[in-house]
């Protein structure tokens, strides 16, 4: 009995001794340290914390600056919201003119892309486009195939502005021009639309270069697309790859080329 009582007491004593010894050693160490050593330790700790934060920040920044988005651009009434609903939610919707951008995730296996539907109205399209263009990895430009002959100048102007943009030229590698509304009788085929747009952009780059200076300090932001001296072709825009496909946004059948392109992009 006395042994069992003694043992815990002994254990306690041993523990206390250990504790004391640790304390003693630390105290010894501290007393041995000079002031300079203390300062060095403080500096080392501070630098370590700073490095850790830097690394974390860089990680965060890089993940946000990573381009994970696809932008849906186009004129009013070209079918962007319909296409958006079909791609991301597999449903048809009744839609009116959008006032605000909408976004959704498009998943391909493990990877996912954020799809942004930018309203096409002339007053808000550029401000909203500027907000999200730095996240764009690819652009889907939707064109109404039935009214292309009437709207070719407006379409070309928007497409030209989008392609000229500095952020787009540095980050976006693939552009898909979707010739929508192919179910209508007056719809033109994709190669014809491509030719029409090329002719228009040819004229456009001349007029854009001769625009007046703006009243603010911002200089003329009109780059010259394509090659000088030759007629404009979309193949001149390397490294940006521009493709033309046909589609019908309503109903779920003709969206194959678009989904292929998205899968390739992801």
């Amino acid at each position: 009995m006395a042994d069992t009582v003694k043992e815990p007491v002994m254990r306690e004593e041993i523990r206390m001794k250990k504790r004391i010894s640790i304390k003693e050693t630390i105290n010894n160490m501290i007393s041995n340290l000079t002031e300079e050593d203390l300062m060095v330790i403080q500096v080392v700790v501070a630098v370590f914390i700073g490095l850790v934060t830097l690394v974390l920040l860089l990680r965060l920044l890089r993940s946000s600056s990573k381009r994970q988005a696809v932008l849906l651009l186009g004129l009013c009434e070209s079918g962007k919201t319909q296409l958006f609903s079909q791609l991301c939610h597999d449903t048809d919707v009744i839609s009116v003119t959008s006032i605000k951008e909408s976004s959704a995730q498009y998943t391909v296996g493990k990877k996912s892309l954020t799809v942004y539907d930018i309203p096409g109205h002339e007053r808000i399209r550029y401000t909203l486009f500027d907000k999200v263009k730095k996240l764009a990895r690819g652009i889907i430009f939707v064109v109404d195939s039935s009214s292309i002959q009437k709207d070719v100048r407006d379409v070309a102007e928007f497409l030209y502005t989008a392609l000229c943009d500095g952020v787009v030229q540095s980050g976006v590698r693939r552009v898909l021009v979707v010739c929508n509304k192919q179910d209508l009788t007056l719809a033109r085929a994709a190669p014809l639309i491509q030719k029409t747009l090329e002719k228009e952009m040819n004229l456009l780059r001349e007029t854009r270069a001769s625009q007046l200076q703006s009243v603010g300090e911002g200089g003329n932001n009109n780059n010259y697309l394509g090659r000088q001296g030759q007629d404009f072709e979309f193949s001149h825009l390397r490294p940006i790859k521009v493709e033309f496909v046909e589609a019908v946004a309503k109903g779920n059948d003709k969206l194959g080329p678009i989904t292929n392109w998205l899968n390739q992009l992801a």
Binding site: T81, S85, H89, T91, V93, I94, S95, V96, T97, S98, I99, K100, E101, S102, D117, P119, H121, E122, R123, I124, Y126, T127, R153, D154, E157, L203, L204, E206, T207, R208, S210, Q211, L212, Q213, S214, V215, G216, E217, G218
Partner: protein
């Protein structure tokens, strides 16, 4: 009664809609698209009703979940319950589907039909009840008389009460005149004559009353006298009116015959009456204007001055210092909210009207200080207020910064052109169709039409386009010479030798005093025959109120159908811009005979270098017309022509 009702997200999805059987879905969607384009995107959200063809649309924004509630009904119906109905529906819808909306699950089905019908029935029954109530006459408390003090109703020499009668009597006379005109045109002159005589008589009677009811201080006497006189007068006028009416009713034709037969005798009044002189009554008492009571102090007292007994004794002693009440209130606000500051930083706060209104008022004053027209500034701030009501602002955002940001976005949206602006491309297009591109310049006097026309000519010839200037200002002395001087200068800068022997600028003029529309038409024909690419039409400056000149301008625009009608306005103009543009647009629309009249297509803002950052005129002009600013003139040399940069201008405006 509502043809169509829809709940729409700002991203363009129709979440739920109710369609009346007779209405086509496509027409409703078209109407809603037109509503969005004209109202929401042009910042006219404060205005109540939008009409599109035969339909009227009312909208309501829900800023918490970014929804738009739209009600569509026939324009001819005037439904009074729609505003409240929209609010009720908004509340009900957001309550039912709160979770779905918050998480953005817009693609699920929204079953709202039953509640919608219930609320609609409620609203319609409520209006029926209100309509069914007979209109009760006002109680004494509601009438205006109860709001007047007794002393203000005291006659001052009998003039006050009698005067208001005069206009009413004259109105009676006039209405009778109109009746006479309707009934019998032949006897118009005679009737008029009668009317005038009658009015004279009545005036004389009034003066009789005037004279006999002078005493100011004996209030009871005065009011009693006047009451009697009123009654007397009423009886007399009643008698006369009755005579007239029965006279007309019994023998309308006889009256006609009588009057046509003998015009002269009817001018003489019925019987002879003694003339009544200006000074009215012959009594000496009626001519006595002295105060009756003999108390001179009371007579000098103004009848509407009520001595405030409580003021006596308050200002005894030294004059007190100023009360700095403003600072006190400020201190209170900050002290009570030491932690409210932090509360504003953390957590989502819902904006209410009370939060937003003071900031908006300050911003409105700021805009007005920057030369935005005052009612435009008011409308803009109202529209921004509508966009902010109920909005949830995130963490680290203050109310002021959110309101400023919204207002900045709205201003940029307003200044961004609503259509593609590429004159050179359009000129090329016109060239391909074999006709010249025509631009007309209109505006009030002295804004810089001819100067900026010369600048635009210079820009066009720099881009290898041949320009013809049509001198349609045939009124102002020296206008044609001014344009001729510009033509010489520009041709010297771009001589024909450098351009394959074609002269780049040509002036088409036919001197002074001719018809401007004709000159313009001939100019365009000449340009087409001689392969000129652009025709610029310079018109005379005219004030917006000058009807014949506005008609002449409308005729010029209608006959020649220019591709671009530019309104030239100077940046220095303030509230006048609103008036000018509204009247110019209206004149162009009214005096045109075509179904779709051509209005102002663009704005040229001149003298921009004279304003430093008071660029508000740009906002006023674009708000009113909805058209973009095509060019900006910044000086008097040929190179002082610029294009609008919306962001830069808005920065200058909001700084």
């Amino acid at each position: 009664m509502l043809d169509f009702f829809a709940v729409i997200t700002k991203g363009g999805l129709v979440l739920w809609y109710f369609q009346d059987a007779a209405q086509q879905l496509k027409t409703s969607i078209d109407a809603i698209n037109a509503l969005i384009r004209n109202v929401v995107l042009q910042e006219r959200g404060g205005e109540n009703i939008f009409s599109h063809g035969s339909l009227a649309l009312k909208q309501h924004l829900d800023n918490e979940f970014d929804l738009l509630f739209v009600a569509v009904y026939q324009n001819i119906l005037q439904l009074s319950y729609v505003d409240k109905f929209l609010l009720d529906i908004q509340r009900e819808f957001t309550n039912c589907f709160r979770e779905q909306l918050r998480q953005g699950f817009y693609y699920e089905s929204f079953d709202f039909g039953a509640e919608y019908k219930r609320i609609l029935k409620q609203a319609e029954s409520l209006t029926k009840i209100i309509k069914a109530e007979p209109r009760k006459p006002r109680t004494f408390e509601e009438s205006e008389k109860s709001k007047k003090t007794v002393n203000s109703m005291i006659k001052h020499r009998g003039g006050d009460q009698v005067q208001p009668k005069k206009p009413s009597k004259k109105k009676e006379g006039k209405s009778k005149k109109q009746e006479c005109n309707n009934n019998s045109k032949g006897s118009q002159v005679e009737e008029v004559g009668e009317e005038d005589d009658e009015e004279e008589e009545r005036e004389n009677e009034d003066l009789v009353v005037n004279g006999s009811a002078v005493e100011e201080n004996k209030e009871e006497d005065v009011t009693a006298l006047d009451n009697n006189d009123e009654n007397e007068l009423d009886e007399e006028t009643l008698r006369k009116n009755r005579e007239k009416m029965f006279g007309k009713r019994s023998t309308p034709k006889a009256a006609k015959i009588n009057s046509t037969k003998s015009p002269k005798p009817t001018k003489v009044k019925k019987g002879k009456e003694g003339t009544v002189w200006d000074l009215g009554g012959k009594d000496s008492t009626s001519l006595d204007y002295s105060s009756k009571s003999g108390d001179s102090t009371r007579s000098s007292l103004r009848p509407d001055f009520l001595p405030d007994q409580s003021q006596i004794g308050t200002l005894s002693g030294n004059v007190r210092d100023m009360d700095m009440t403003k600072d006190e209130s400020k201190k209170k606000a900050s002290s009570g909210g030491m932690f409210s500051m932090f509360r504003g930083l953390v957590g989502g706060k819902t904006l209410t009207e009370a939060d937003v209104t003071p900031v908006l008022d300050k911003l409105k004053d700021h805009l007005i200080g920057k030369n935005v027209a005052s009612d435009i500034a008011g409308k803009l701030t109202n529209s921004v207020g509508e966009q902010l009501k109920g909005k949830v602002i995130g963490t680290f955002e203050g109310v002021t910064s959110t309101v400023r940001k919204t207002l900045t976005n709205s201003l940029v949206k307003l200044l961004t052109p609503g259509r593609r602006l590429d004159i050179l491309r359009d000129v090329m297009e016109a060239k391909n169709s074999g006709r010249p591109y025509t631009m007309a310049f209109c505006g009030v006097n002295g804004v810089g039409k001819s100067t900026n026309l010369a600048k635009i000519t210079f820009w066009l010839i720099e881009n290898n386009l041949r320009v013809m200037i049509a001198a349609c200002d045939t009124f102002r002395a020296g206008a044609v010479e001014q344009l001729r001087t510009h033509t010489h200068h520009l041709n010297a800068l771009h001589p024909p030798e450098k351009h394959h022997g074609n002269d780049m600028v040509h002036l088409f003029e036919q001197g002074y005093g001719k018809d401007a529309a004709g000159i313009a038409r001939h100019a365009i024909d000449y340009a087409r025959k001689n392969n000129y690419d652009v025709v610029l039409i310079d018109t005379a400056g005219r004030m917006q109120d000058n009807e014949p000149l506005m008609r002449a301008l409308a005729k010029l625009i209608m006959v020649n159908e220019p591709d671009l009608t530019l309104f030239v306005g100077e940046a220095l103009v303030g509230n006048e811009a609103v008036d000018q543009l509204v009247k110019f647009n209206r004149a162009l629309a009214d005096h045109s005979t075509s179904a779709k009249p051509q209005k102002i297509d663009g704005i040229l803002l001149t003298k921009f270098d004279t304003i430093d950052d008071k660029v508000g005129a740009a906002i006023s002009m674009t708000y009113i017309t909805g058209q973009p600013i095509v060019f900006i003139g910044t000086g008097q040399t040929y190179t002082d022509l610029r294009r609008l940069d919306a962001e830069a201008v808005v920065n200058a405006l909001m700084s």
